[in-house]
Subunit: 402 residues, 2 copies
């Protein structure tokens, strides 16, 4: 107990990111890490960014280096509004708020919508970073029963909708982190219909939607109920995470409050970064660039799928992800992914135990494997080691004697 | 009332930035604006930044464009720890958290230290952006009686220190925004002594400390009570605000919680921006660059001082700022700076009414004038127009007839 400082009540609820703590442990030299959620640095368009930096600092240095508007750089907001039209969304540039990564979008959403004790519905499991962003605002998480397509519509019907009613449902329909699952078109209609009936609006988080392998995902949930949705997008997975650029698309009634929260949080997102990214994307660069990411990631996905099939013991379960960055594996009964992690690191591999991604009752048998950080050869080597570890963990030690 | 969305209780307390709203009104073509708090774009070291962008993207593109640590770029944290030694502070790099501008530092401080109804002491007047950053966390502001050096020590002795005790005092000892005042060395000792006695820690915000004109300000308040202080610094006024780079220096007991708040808020500050700024500053660039800003601003300050003397009616009061960016003017009794603003804009000038900077009982006679945005010639023209407006406001209209 400090004798000088008194911390806020909410601070007691905040915890270090389990993933970041795990990443520190697993960042030993020689460890094949399938733990991180980092996009492949091979996909960063360094030359295009370098040229754009130069153009911005030559053409508009004073504007790019000065304070800028809290809403974001107008041409980039226009670009975003145009971009999401391909997802079925009809959006005006005035509805776009540029944020410092989509993680900031989650923080701002929590700030303007969460009250202590008011329910927020989340998928089972869900993105850990969202749990962390909302937690300081002390919501009561309600875990929606979910299957291989995401939350089940009947689970939504049972949400608390009396005061304090459920403030929103937080949904990741495309190649969800951590499960990699995608919500099919019929399920999207059912889910949004159930939310409408329950009068529960939703926050749609879509960092991975562009990373599809065979066919694009169905239209955005937000296209089905525009006035009942907030939509979060990001440049981190299609361009670079190092610029920290994301955006929130808000219905007109929420936009002003979100903007006030943004002003209070950091005045504005770096104008320089916004101009550079706009300079890179404005003439269709992503149309040629994103397919190169897709094909790289798809080859990696295939390598991991094959390796999992070849090396994981009977009783392990996983879905083939149709996009994104992750496999989600469920181990046979009796195994605990968290308990096994130290042995995995000793064996030279790392993953993220799935328990971190649950708001309630974690499934200790789950783990998340990224297929975008290692090369196919290293993926095969890593999964082979994982398989060996799991076989050992399942069999009596004596059987391994020669 | 929305039938879909329910906003958080704290959202009702949040308001649009009055300054940003005023800036919108005053951004008419032809208006000489002394309203903004923007540093002069003439001071941005465009060539140095351009060269640094190029070096970073040539030498370490993959690292600069990838996700990075929440604490910040290690070499920049080391540089900051070394830099503040000149302010009398003994700081380890592990105490430095890089933030997305020092505004984000205020948000994070509010998040981990403010509870609904718990007092936070502020100067009279104080920085509006801090009031905005803390307000969502629902503190009870306590306005400290202040004079031309800042808060009075005897005002601190009367702060509430029983539960819920005053969480911290928010202090700007150097060329404060909005008043331009600086706290002398003896006052610093008295203030910190009073805070220690009252067991009230403090948050020291120092965006303007480098912008002194004749002699540097006394040692930082934080040097006098390191374990009872959080210190906020910024690159916005000495390099560029467009990169949104600031930092918080925290005692070891608070650092982990601040870091968790940072992770939840935006994962990390753009690694690219941190590396570019480090590349610019690492070899002593500021030692030659900051003096050029000082001499530019000092010449502007002198021009405004002379013009105020020449044109403002008897009964106006102001101090000569020894650094920073602002004059703080108190109008003669009977005048209201907010009420006069529309006439000022019609007359082709703009300022910020001082009322926005008070947590309680605003003084309607005050206004803030920036001397760093206009050239000396335009400052003279602007102040002359202000003087004419004030003379007119003070005298019966009839006297102006030819």
């Amino acid at each position: 107990m400090s004798t000088i400082w008194t911390q806020a009540r909410r601070a007691a609820r905040m915890n270090p990111s389990i993933i970041r703590e795990i990443l520190k442990v697993t960042e030993k030299p020689g460890v094949l890490s399938m733990a991180g959620g980092l996009p492949s640095a091979d996909t960063f368009p360094v030359d295009a960014i370098k040229a754009a930096c130069d153009r911005v600092l030559t053409a508009t240095p004073r504007e790019a280096l000065q304070y800028a508007s809290s809403e974001g750089y107008a041409p980039l907001r226009e670009w975003v509004a145009g971009r999401v039209a391909s997802l079925g969304m009809k959006v005006k540039p005035e509805q776009v708020l540029i944020t410092s990564g989509s993680q900031q979008g989650l923080d701002l959403v929590g700030k303007i919508l969460c009250d202590a004790g008011a329910p927020v519905a989340v998928e089972t499991p869900t993105y850990l970073g969202a749990l962390q962003a909302f937690t300081p605002f002390e919501p009561l998480f309600a875990s929606l029963a979910s299957d291989e397509e995401g939350p089940r519509p009947e689970a939504i019907a049972t949400l608390p909708h009396d005061a304090p009613g459920t403030r929103f449902a937080y949904l990741l329909p495309n190649y969800q982190n951590p499960t990699g699952r995608v919500m099919g078109a019929p399920r999207r209609v059912e889910v949004v219909e159930a939310l409408r009936k329950a009068n529960v609006p939703f926050v749609e988080d879509n960092p991975y939607g562009d990373l599809w392998f065979d066919e694009p995902p169905p239209a955005a949930l937000s296209s089905l109920w525009p006035e009942g949705s907030l939509y979060l997008g990001s440049f981190s997975k299609v361009l670079t995470p190092g610029f920290r650029l994301g955006y929130v698309i808000a219905p007109p009634e929420l936009y002003p409050k979100l903007l006030q929260a943004k002003q209070a949080a950091d005045l504005h997102t770096p104008g320089f970064n916004q101009r550079v990214v706009h300079e890179v994307v404005k003439d269709g660069f992503l149309d040629s660039h994103v397919p190169t990411i897709r094909s790289l990631y798809k080859a990696n996905r295939d390598a991991m799928a094959e390796a999992l099939q070849a090396h994981l013991p009977r009783g392990c379960e996983w879905q083939l992800p149709q996009g994104g960055m992750f496999f989600w594996v469920r181990l046979p009964a009796g195994l605990d992914a968290m308990a096994l992690l130290p042995r995995a690191v000793d064996a030279g591999i790392a993953y993220v135990p799935g328990a971190a991604f649950y708001a309630h009752q974690p499934d200790p048998r789950t783990l998340r494997l990224s297929f975008v950080t290692l090369t196919p050869d290293l993926i095969r080597e890593g999964v082979e080691k994982l398989g060996r570890l799991l076989h050992e963990a399942l069999e009596p030690v004596a059987e391994h004697a020669p």
